[in-house]
Structures are given as structure tokens and as C-alpha cells.
Symmetry: C2
Subunit: 245 residues, 2 copies
DNA sequence: CGATACGTTGACGGAAATCAACCCCGGTGG
DNA sequence: CCACCGGGGTTGATTTCCGTCAACGTATCG
């Protein structure tokens, strides 16, 4: 089985945030991995698990989440092609949250052992992964700010800006339009709102001429307006090319 | 100037989350650093800065924060002795948030160059730092959940539990009592609430017999009750010894 | 075709924000 | 020495944003 196509999603993602040596790129492309397809709403790993491999998203959308004892769900992050959302399991043995697909997805699993090998051989890759972890953390901080200090309207605008910027970085946006296979309930759990309020807020964003949505796809009609509405400043994403637009 | 005393705070902190070889410990203790004392409310680094060294907190409390365009402040994390809150500047050149002291503090600055050297010589230390970054991220996720899905009462209870657990891990809690040189306004900015509401909520926590506060110190009167009130589960802190109590 | 998931709408209630005082205390300077 | 000031904490009154509850529409699918 040739898995280099799957690995190339990872290379492209890492190159969107850092510079890789040719050596490192080749090593990444040679990484042994098991590729599988799963449907939407599939739990990849659950809180409490002790994974022995890491999951690379080749295609599709995933999210990290946690269910509180009261049964409320909070989504911490959305993940897209090229992301390795449970890279942390390399160093943190027990999962403190869960990871699930949002859309039908293609996943590639890489054994911890092989990643450790790779890291030993290529210090540059350790740096790249560490940098990726740091950026993840920066995104989490931004979400804290988003949920803690912005109104519903701002929160959703901000979230859409972030997704657009990240999808742009890996080439998944065409003329302001991108796939967003995410229900309003999931947007609610990501922004700390109720589904009802998300529904009304999306209507406001549409009424303001900032976006349109149909099926699972979003079109940004007024990028400057959306950025302003969400107080969006892409610095925290630490992308190499800077601005998305 | 002998700085090994300052570095020992770092060693103790790292040992609370991972195992260090004797070799690595010695190297950490020999790290060149500049120690200075600063007052409360001092900005260590600001959003937009490009630091060339990292800051180790030797004594005192600090926080990371960001001011939104509307002038609202969100605190992302509290930091205590042994923490290196801007370790990220090693790999992310431009600060995406600010870092400030909350109390009079002793800080040690370590040049990026020296940390890079250290990492090159001791891969075990890279792992330790990476693990630390991963735990930081786990704490951010927990804060997202806290702010997004818990009531004011739960949020503050949870925050107090977290601080107690972390201070316990480095030996800064005596019989349920610990220093917390943090104003109600700062608690508000950490929990996404208003100062008025924090004030009322603290009164409720006191009335429930869970805590007492005076001057800058907190005593937990009912640890089980506080944990229950905050839905606190310390797993996400990934401490080596497990439970704080 | 009924079941189910997702989106939408209206009515109502509540948690927390906002606004506005007021208190206490330590510092400071006239 | 005391008046003044500012920061932090406290309180009450009012407002508002958003949650909850409940119903209904629509599309997809076994």
C-alpha cells in the first residue's frame, strides 16, 4: 500500500507553519501508516483511552471535545486535513478529552514507535511538531478569549474567520467558499452557546450580508466585514504566509 | 552570581510532570540566567514583542492575557513558580498575547540561544518541554470547557481547584491554605465574568462553607465539596502523583 | 411511510452584565 | 496630622443577552 499520498497532507500542513528540510520531508513521506475511512460522528479516541498510535486526518473534518458531568458538550477545536489532533498521546499517556469525526473522513494511523524513531533521526521534525503544539495552544487561547469576552455574533464570526484562514492555508478555499460539514449544534458546542441562539445568530450574519450558507458549505461574502465583526486578527495562527485573504 | 537556586524551581516543576535524568537536571541547574525582581502588575512581554529570551518564574504569580479591540481583558492562564510561560517564544517569534506579574515576583531570564544549546545536548529536555507545552494546552482546553459550559459558581470553584492542585504539586499549600495574590477583577477576567458577579459568587462559595479568603490567601474548607462544585477532575493536569489531596 | 436528524420560530425565564453608589484601607502630600 | 485619593471590595437596582421549552417544517433514509 502506498501511503505517501496520505503523508503528503501532513507535509503540506507542516509546511504551512514551518520550513522543512528535504530530508525531513522524505522521512515523513516514508512513514508507515494505516489508512482507513470512517463515517461522520465516529469517535477516534475517547477520554481515558491510552492510544498507541497517532491519527492523521487525510480528508474530512474532526473535532476534539469533552462531555461535562452534567452532560454538556464542549468542543475545543476543529481539525482539518493534515492535522494530527492526538499527537499529544506521544507524551501524555491518558487522553483527557475525546476526538471524533464530523464528516466522512479518511484517517491515517501512525504508531507511536515510528514517530519516536522519526523524531530521534530528525530533530527538525521534533521542532516542527513542537511548533504545531504551540500553535494549537495559541488557538485554544484565542477560543478562551472568544468564549469569555465576545458576544454570540462576534464569536461565530470569529470562528468562521479562523476556519477560513486555516482552510486557505492548505488550499481548501475557492473564491471565499469552503466546505463546513458542521451542524448548528456543533457550532453551539464550539462557541459555548445554545443551538437556538446559534441559529438566530447565523441568520443575523446572513442578514448583514457577511456570509451565505447552504448544505455543508459556507461562502464569505464580505471578508473585511466578517473580520471586523469577529475582531479577527490571524496572528495567533502563526501561518508562514501571514494573511489569508 | 549563583543562579542554581532559581533553576531548581524549574527542575522541581519539570519533575512534577516528568522524569528527568541526573544529567538533564545538572544541565538545567547550570543554565545561565539573569534574575531580577519586579513589582505586581508588571508586563514581562507584550503582544507583538519578539523576545530573545524566556522567562522563568522563580517566585510569585503571573498571568497570560490579551486585550480585545473593545478593551476587554481575557486572562488565559495563571502561572506559578517553576513555570516558563513564554517558552513558546523559542518557536513562535512574535508574541500573540501578553504576560504580566500579578504579585511581586522574582524572574529569571534565559537566552533562547542557551535553551537551544541545552535542547541540542539533551533530547530528554526537549521531551520535557514539549510535554509541558502539551499540558499547557490541556489546561487551556479545560478553561474553554469551564467558560463555555459551566455556571459562574462552577467556574470559580473549578479555577480554585486547579490552582490548589498545581500549587500542591510544587509544595506551596499548607493545610488547605495557599497564597492567591489575585484581585476579583482578575478572577473575573480569567473566568469570563464581571467583577460584580465574581464578588457575589465568592460570597456564595464562602456561605456554602467551601472556602474562606482573607488578604491574599485562600483556605479550602471542604475539598470534596469544592471539587464537586467545580466538577473538578485533575487528570487534565497530567501530574505524576495523580490526585492533589 | 414513519423515524430521525437538522433547522427554524415563538414565548418565556433566568443568569449574569451593567450602572451607580458606597465602604474600607493604605499611601501621600499639603 | 489629617485631608485627599485611588484601588479593591461590596451592595442594590435595572437591563439584556442568551438559555430553555416547546412546537413545527423539511429532507433523508431504511
Amino acid at each position: 500500500m502506498d501511503t505517501s499520498h496520505s503523508a503528503s497532507a501532513l507535509v503540506r500542513k507542516l509546511e504551512s507553519i514551518t520550513k522543512l528540510s528535504d530530508d525531513a520531508k522524505e522521512a515523513l513521506l516514508r512513514l508507515p501508516m494505516n489508512v482507513t475511512s470512517v463515517g461522520p460522528g465516529h469517535d477516534i479516541v475517547r477520554e481515558g483511552d491510552r492510544p498507541s498510535n497517532c491519527c492523521l486526518i487525510v480528508e474530512g473534518f474532526a473535532c476534539r471535545y469533552k462531555i461535562t458531568p452534567e452532560g454538556k458538550r464542549q468542543i475545543h477545536a476543529f481539525h482539518i486535513a493534515g492535522d494530527m489532533p492526538d499527537l499529544q498521546s506521544l507524551h501524555l499517556k491518558v487522553m483527557d478529552h475525546s476526538l471524533a469525526t464530523l464528516s466522512p473522513s479518511k484517517l491515517a494511523f501512525i504508531a507511536h514507535h515510528d514517530i519516536h524513531e522519526l523524531c530521534r533521526a530528525h530533530p527538525g521534525i521534533v521542532s516542527a511538531f513542537w511548533r504545531d503544539t504551540l500553535i494549537d495552544a495559541a488557538v485554544f487561547r484565542e477560543w478562551i478569549t472568544n468564549i469569555g469576552r465576545r458576544t454570540a455574533y462576534q464569536r461565530i464570526a470569529h470562528l468562521l474567520c479562523e476556519i477560513l484562514a486555516r482552510l486557505t492555508a492548505i488550499g481548501l478555499v475557492q473564491g471565499g467558499t469552503f466546505d463546513l460539514p458542521v451542524t448548528q449544534a456543533e457550532l453551539a458546542d464550539a462557541t459555548g452557546l445554545s443551538t437556538v441562539h446559534v441559529n438566530r445568530t447565523l441568520q443575523e450574519l446572513r442578514a448583514a450580508g457577511l456570509i451565505t450558507m447552504r448544505d455543508g458549505s459556507v461562502t464569505v461574502r464580505d471578508w473585511e466585514g466578517l473580520k471586523a465583526a469577529g475582531e479577527f486578527d490571524p496572528n495567533y495562527l502563526h501561518l508562514r504566509q501571514g494573511e489569508a485573504a
